[in-house]
């Protein structure tokens, strides 16, 4: 784990940045309104895993406890199919695709197919906790806001996102779908995660944390709520706030660059798990192991 020092941080996105994002891609500005207003927070010092929790780390937990994830109990995982989400029978963290086990071979890849309770159970077993979303964001960009962990300029080589695999810019659904159609035909439901920390050090955050953009989107402890309850927001986000959604951060290997921004907020039902959401842990006291 890495010590993230106490400090002031600007949380959320500047208005000018969202104007730029709106101009560059297909979603309307309202889609990003939940990132505003940008506001100052004082963050206390905490420790954070340098990388997302890996399959090898999660295996230690399940071997020690006999824990079964929600996906294992229900007998299917959720993957994005040729056209939309589908149930994939048998898909879970141990076997993310038919006949493809997470262990051995993908030991150092981030664990996926874990819901919020699965992530929290691991964290408790490890003597840690899930990070709050402001801690997560501070850890991603440091005291000074920047849209990506390494700085202001997007670079597809520094994060595992759709653009990393596509080899070209993806700024709208049509281009994403063109990439995805080719990708899914070739790859199927196997997550395109990369070994944790593969984009270090150039893709790291100012504190040295890896994979804070892309690879897997990450659960936080925080309920999804408006930064300013007085601001109007999309009806969908209002519904998510009413119904216990949690905040997921960082974007994943199948996401656009915009979803991998440090201040991007994704709202997710806590019992949802799929092939591109994982997590990392935080802690308030120095950990015994410094992995």
């Amino acid at each position: 784990m890495i010590l993230v020092p106490a400090g002031p941080a600007m949380i959320g996105s500047p208005e000018a940045h969202l104007d730029q994002v709106t101009a560059e891609q297909h979603h309307a500005r309202a889609w990003f309104e939940d990132e505003t207003p940008q506001h100052a927070r004082q963050i206390q010092a905490f420790w954070m895993d340098r990388t997302p929790v890996t399959n090898a780390m999660f295996a230690e937990f399940t071997e020690a406890t006999g824990y079964l994830t929600a996906a294992e109990r229900r007998g299917f995982g959720l993957v994005y199919g040729a056209r939309y989400w589908v149930r994939q029978p048998g898909a879970c963290w141990r076997e993310p695709a038919p006949d493809t086990g997470a262990l051995p071979g993908r030991d150092q890849h981030p664990v996926v197919h874990v819901d919020h309770a699965d992530a929290a159970a691991y964290a408790a077993w490890a003597g840690k906790r899930l990070p709050a979303e402001d801690e997560w964001e501070y850890a991603a960009h440091g005291p000074d806001w920047s849209p990506w962990p390494w700085g202001a300029q997007w670079n597809p080589a520094l994060a595992n996102t759709a653009e990393y695999w596509a080899g070209n810019a993806i700024r709208d659904t049509d281009r994403w779908r063109a990439w995805w159609t080719r990708w899914f035909a070739f790859r199927g439901p196997l997550p395109a995660t990369t070994p944790a920390g593969s984009h270090s050090p150039d893709g790291d955050s100012p504190f040295g944390l890896a994979d804070m953009a892309g690879n897997v989107a990450e659960w936080t402890a925080s309920p999804y709520a408006a930064y300013d309850p007085g601001r109007a927001c999309d009806a969908g986000f209002e519904t998510a706030m009413r119904h216990g959604y949690r905040v997921v951060r960082g974007g994943s290997w199948k996401h656009f660059r915009y979803q991998a921004r440090t201040s991007e907020r994704i709202a997710c039902l806590p019992e949802y798990s799929c092939f591109d959401i994982g997590f990392r842990c935080a802690a308030d006291t120095p950990p015994d192991d410094k992995d």
Binding site: H26, L78, G236, E264, A267, C274
Partner: protein, 91 residues
Amino acid sequence: VNEVRFVLPGSWSALAGSDLSGIACTAATVGQALTWLTQRYPVLAQRIFADDGTIAPWTLVCLGNERVSDTGTPVPALGGELRVIAALMGG
């Protein structure tokens, strides 16, 4: 038969090619209301229903403040607000 008023993500209007704010139908059950919605806007069908016709696990459907998982759930006599969103939203 009772009025169902839909509350949907703004991004679904772009998908459907039509302003979905304020749309409503009459239905006796949640399933009837959702079927009306997806027949009118077929692009929404895969966002709401799984292949077996159940409410998909990647979707949240709420009647008033209550989460609904059974399409046979009756709509109250006075009608109701049906909120439908993805289980994962953002970006």
